[in-house]
Symmetry: C2
Subunit: 374 residues, 2 copies
């Protein structure tokens, strides 16, 4: 096994940059989805962090971004090295199978035999060396015909993530850590999560899939033939700008909306074609403000995370997280585990324990026709 | 005893409109002090409510407002019927003895024998009939040579107010409720407050003083002769606009800063010249956001008071108070007894239990030189 900081041959990264991140309202919006925000305090958006993490493994010319038309300008601003060839614009969101499948079909047409790896645009990862090691092994497993996923070794019984059940070692050339995946399991309750941790046979599902593009298409043909047919029709004309438009208009609205977990990962696991590479890096999908607060925690009792350029926060005996986009003076007195998210037209005040309920507010605003703040 | 809705003869009301109301930051500011805000949801400022309460007792030509030069325009906008003669502008704040003393001296010069009553510009009173009855009795006591204060019958052991100890009935013509004041006592702790309530001999000190202007000046001459000398010098030239300026410039900065409680009320109580009229109306000095929340409480468990024109608040299992000046969408999830005060350049998040600590934030901001938000 070698840890390469040279680009991995025949490897192409795909970044689906789609989800809004409703649980991060009012920070995340239709116009400013989660992946465009800096949630780590790095000064860079999550999308840019994702790009920077992948470039050493691919080079700047081998990362494809699939995103909505509305986000084109923002994505290009974040990723100045992204070429026109490598941005796939969705006329409307059709979930991850369509997004990643179309990327696979386009890339397979351009470069038969290519291995693709899909990586969410809005996760946080720390530990580049371990990430690189895991991706390198996963690509080797993909070269051997497997669909590979990277499983994160859990360090606590998290109930907010899905898990991968895997314990049987599988001899794959270049992927000494590979385990055969028994099954994927949905977000568990706390007691179940504790059992998972104790058993040592469960990993967090970080939603990273690495496989030959041809293998993905083959699998999709088996589980979702109509979706595959649409994708192939799009890919056939994608690089011909004159022909592309009418085909997109006709085919796109009919693409089935389904997550890659259900069209590819679970069926492949059942068929014994799915392996996982257990990995040691820190990973979080930063799905709500509680997890952002945790990300910024230093372990002190009165930890108050503060995110936002030019934030001016005064805190007296308060903990939790403040996210501000306004530069206003914010004073907190005696509020524990608080979540304050301060934007120009909307303000959220809740607690880390209620962070998952933010989505309900978004739903209520949608029902009330308040698209102006969504 | 008669309850007059006719103006009371020889009576003049004085409204010192000075204090900022630091515990109501960031709503109250140097530029927009508490008395200019609508804290009751009436649609009118506390100052305007005070004026409207007094006009039936005095007529519109017999209310004098003492305020800072910076607030002239705002006060005149609030009180269009206030005549030029009746606005006394302080070049800088010198506390209540100077403010009310100067008003007394000006009015005594204009109209010897006048009775003045001073009423804070930023308190909330409900129950006009009882207020009118109490003021009418207090004026009668003042005519008899006493300094009269209106004492509010407490309905709970409040620790945020000072108390008046008074139990001995005093025969005063036209003031059948009058009691001789034994002493003023500072804000008590809860156990002491409970004893006060149980005894029945204690009233809340609402800071209302009614007396002949000449009696006030005489008392001030006894306790603070230098302050009286300055005040008389100012009053001598006050109504001569040519002469006033230089005297103000010379005398004003030297006026001693002292509350009327210490220069007049306590010494008068010790000298047996102070009577109190117990009154039954609802009174609150709305000193902090907890008291505003209480003012708006309907007694329900999940009471959330919302103050602010065009407020757009979504609440899920939350209670407390939201004050907003911005029209932003505000979502609260699972926060109990919360205080959220949302202004253009500053945001406060605390709890009703911590409402008194807001002043410490203001102090911290002052020390930090953040006059922009004070």
């Amino acid at each position: 096994m070698t840890t390469s900081v040279q680009p991995i041959p025949q490897f192409y990264a795909v970044i689906p940059a789609g989800g809004i991140g409703s649980r991060l309202w009012p920070l995340s919006r239709a116009e400013a989805p989660k992946f465009l925000h800096d949630l780590t305090g790095s000064g860079r958006s999550l999308l840019r962090d994702t790009w920077d993490r992948l470039v050493p493994l691919t080079g700047p010319d081998r990362i494809m971004v699939v995103t909505g038309r509305a986000h084109r300008a923002a994505v290009e601003e974040q990723l100045p090295d992204l070429s026109d060839m490598n941005i796939v614009l969705e006329s409307e969101p059709r979930d991850s199978s369509a997004a990643i499948g179309l990327a696979a079909a386009i890339l397979e047409k351009r470069e038969p035999g290519v291995v693709i790896g899909s990586f969410a645009a809005d996760h946080v990862i720390r530990g580049a060396r371990f990430f690189n090691m895991a991706v390198t092994e996963a690509v080797a497993a993909a070269q051997a015909g497997y669909i590979a996923t990277i499983g994160i070794r859990p360090d606590e019984p998290a109930t907010g993530f899905g898990y991968i059940h895997a314990h049987k070692e599988l001899p794959v050339n270049g992927a000494p850590s590979a385990l055969e995946v028994d099954s994927f399991v949905e977000k568990p309750d706390f007691a179940t999560a504790e059992k998972y941790i104790a058993s040592g046979d469960y990993l967090w599902n970080a939603g990273m899939f690495i496989m030959k593009a041809s293998v993905m298409l083959e699998e999709l043909g088996r589980t979702k033939p109509a979706l595959l047919a649409g994708i192939l029709e799009l890919a056939e004309v994608w690089d011909d700008k004159e022909k592309r438009g009418p085909v997109v208009d006709r085919v796109w609205p009919k693409l089935e909306k389904i997550a890659i977990d259900y069209s590819i990962a679970e069926p492949a696991a059942d068929a014994g074609r799915l392996v996982t590479i257990p990995a040691e890096f820190d990973w979080d999908d930063v799905g709500d403000f509680a997890s952002i607060a945790k990300l910024h925690s230093t372990g002190h009792k009165n930890d108050l995370a503060i995110l936002g350029e030019g934030a001016r926060v005064l805190s007296d005996a308060s903990s939790g997280i403040v996210v501000t986009e306004t530069g206003r003076t914010i004073a907190l007195i005696g509020v524990r585990d608080i979540v304050v998210v301060d934007t120009g037209d909307a303000l959220l005040v809740t607690t880390t324990a209620n962070a998952q309920k933010v989505k309900a507010v978004v739903d209520a605003l949608r029902i009330a026709g308040r698209d102006d703040v969504l």
